[in-house]
């Protein structure tokens, strides 16, 4: 019985691994193809089954006048917007989450849980809905097609995540720690900054990782709210989607866009293994 269980366990894990890897392997193979290799039917192994070419990859770094999309600038834009918005969201979200975890708020029937739900509910709205209002809002305050405008919108997208994770995190940090700090002569701000904050780094890192992931993969707002000055990576990549879907360059782009986040995956895993995440997530 245990042997069978072990076998099943490994079998399932390997099966899932194959499922996870399959599209990536396919993308790697496809990224070295061209029109003819693609339309000739499914092939997998370069040289053996098709003649590999670097066309798909070179498109990513050529200017538009040579049929490329040159993703370098957008790449850094994406990184900048994602990180800045994540940072602000974590800062504001952590403060709010701390208040919601430690203090009691009451205004009529509205209580802590309702406020928390209000934060999280900002993610319920489908992006389509908000795109036009956001467009008009940003154009009114003159931030359309700017990094600052995108960051503003991303804060709305990301702060709910930060609040959600940090409320859970703080609920697991004994409130007696803050109380002790207060008794030891800290006012509530000092208690937070001198005692709670240094012990919340794991939670904030997790919240930060989630924010980065959700910021990085957004397409819709970046698409609607920018024109020429600011281009983010996903928007730029989607611009490859011409009448013919260029399987090769889209595959290469997909691989390039996921690359930095694989580093994030390693960081997450490190935190998990070191146990630093204990209590960092609900």
């Amino acid at each position: 019985m245990p042997k069978l269980y072990t076998f099943l366990k490994y079998f399932c894990v390997i099966l899932w691994s194959c499922f996870v890897i399959a599209p990536f392997l396919w993308a790697i193979s496809t990224s070295f193809k061209d029109f003819n290799s693609v339309t000739g039917g499914a092939t997998y192994i370069p040289w053996l089954q098709f003649e590999p070419t670097l066309d798909g990859w070179s498109v990513l770094f050529k200017p538009g006048s040579q049929g490329g999309i040159n993703i370098i600038g957008p790449y850094f834009n994406s990184i900048f917007v994602t990180f800045t918005a994540s940072f602000i969201s974590i800062a504001l979200g952590t403060l709010a989450a701390y208040a919601l975890s430690r203090y009691t708020f009451k205004a009529g029937f509205v209580q802590n849980n309702d406020i928390t739900f209000f934060f999280i509910s900002q993610r319920i709205m489908p992006p389509v809905v908000l795109s036009i209002p956001f467009f008009i809002f940003l154009s009114t305050i003159g931030l359309l097609d700017s990094l600052a405008g995108l960051i503003l919108v991303y804060i709305v997208l990301l702060m709910p995540i930060a609040v959600w994770i940090m409320v859970d995190f703080f609920n697991r940090v004994p409130k007696e720690i803050d109380e002790t700090a207060l008794i030891d002569g800290c006012n509530p701000f000092q208690a937070f900054f001198k005692v709670v904050l240094p012990n919340s780094i794991p939670g904030m890192i997790v919240a930060g990782l989630f924010c980065i992931i959700f910021g990085w993969i957004d397409f819709f707002f970046a698409f609607i709210l920018t024109f020429t000055n600011v281009q983010l990576l996903p928007v730029k990549i989607v611009a490859l989607n011409s009448s013919i879907t260029p399987w090769w360059s889209l595959s290469a782009a997909a691989l390039v866009s996921v690359a930095p986040l694989i580093i994030v995956a390693f960081i997450v895993e490190r935190f998990l293994s070191k146990g630093n995440l204990t209590g960092a997530l609900k």
Binding site: V13, W26, A42
Partner: protein, 287 residues
């Protein structure tokens, strides 16, 4: 604790959020009462005409909503089961534990709109690898062009992408569980299955509820996948609410009506998520 300082903690975030959102939300409500469209842009006032149209004359919206409910619940359920299983397996000793953990995390870090293009080529009925492989068995399923399979394809992609999210939350939850209950169970000689059913699962209930709710919220926005994979087709077989709203709003430019649908959708979602959260709490926390 109750000090005035609490407002200094809460308000910056709340004010920023409300400050950014107040206009868009009021605007959406106002827009829903207007006939804004491609040839008549502007906030004229048409009363609740749009709402009447939605509730009396648009079965497509409600069909798309029920389809969305089906897809969201199915995918989240699968993600939860698989995510829990995987997290449970790599929680304890297994060879290459860290490798598997990293691997299982990666899918959620891919941009859906780009990754789904890869999936579309993967599912391509005549040029994709999946049917190439299945041709060994002499079958050529119509992954994207038969109403039933198209839904399954969408579910597969959603499960691929977001199981890792569930996996991360549940694994982190497992790793933070106290050890005592497990020791107690071991001393009582509980079988692994019993240990799971009577110790692990109940301890994970609060984490599970949180993870399921947040995933349901995200899954109900499912759109990129549908857009890229099937464009809602064949027919309307894979149209979901947000995709339908997208079509009406940004394709047909019936902005007023799209706002009506959005606002209605938002209300329905808030109510149903509240109910789901309550029911889940009742069911899962009972143990």
């Amino acid at each position: 604790m109750n000090f005035k300082h609490k407002f200094v903690f809460l308000l910056p975030g709340l004010i920023v959020l409300i400050g950014i959102l107040i206009f868009p939300i009021i605007f959406t409500v106002r827009l829903s009462l207007s006939g804004w469209n491609s040839y008549n842009p502007g906030l004229d006032f048409v009363g609740i005409k749009n709402y009447i149209r939605l509730f009396t004359d648009d079965p497509r919206f409600w069909e798309s909503f029920f389809r969305l409910s089906f897809l969201a619940i199915t995918t989240v359920f699968l993600q939860y089961i698989i995510g829990f299983f995987l997290a449970h397996v790599v929680w304890k000793d297994i060879k290459f534990k860290r490798f598997f953990r990293v691997l299982f995390l990666i899918p959620m870090m891919t941009t859906p709109v780009i990754m789904t293009v890869i999936w579309r080529t993967f599912f391509h009925e005549s040029l994709g690898p999946l049917n190439d492989f299945l041709s060994i068995f002499g079958v050529q399923p119509q992954w994207l062009s038969s109403p039933g399979l198209a839904k399954i394809s969408i579910i597969v992609v959603e499960v691929w992408q977001w199981t890792s999210f569930m996996f991360l939350l549940l694994l982190a939850g497992l790793l933070s569980l106290p050890k005592e209950p497990f020791l107690a169970a071991s001393i009582d000689g509980a079988s692994p299955f019993k240990k799971f059913m009577y110790v692990t699962f109940p301890l994970m209930a609060p984490i599970s509820i949180g993870a399921i709710i947040i995933r349901l919220i995200e899954a109900s926005k499912i759109m990129d996948t549908v857009f890229v994979l099937t464009s809602g087709g064949p027919g309307t077989a894979t149209e979901t609410s947000s995709f339908y709203i997208f079509i009406k709003g940004l394709r047909e430019f019936q902005m007023g009506y799209a706002a009506t649908m959005s606002f209605t959708y938002l209300i329905i979602m808030i109510i149903s998520l509240t109910i789901i959260a309550k029911v889940l709490t009742k069911v899962l926390m009972k143990e």
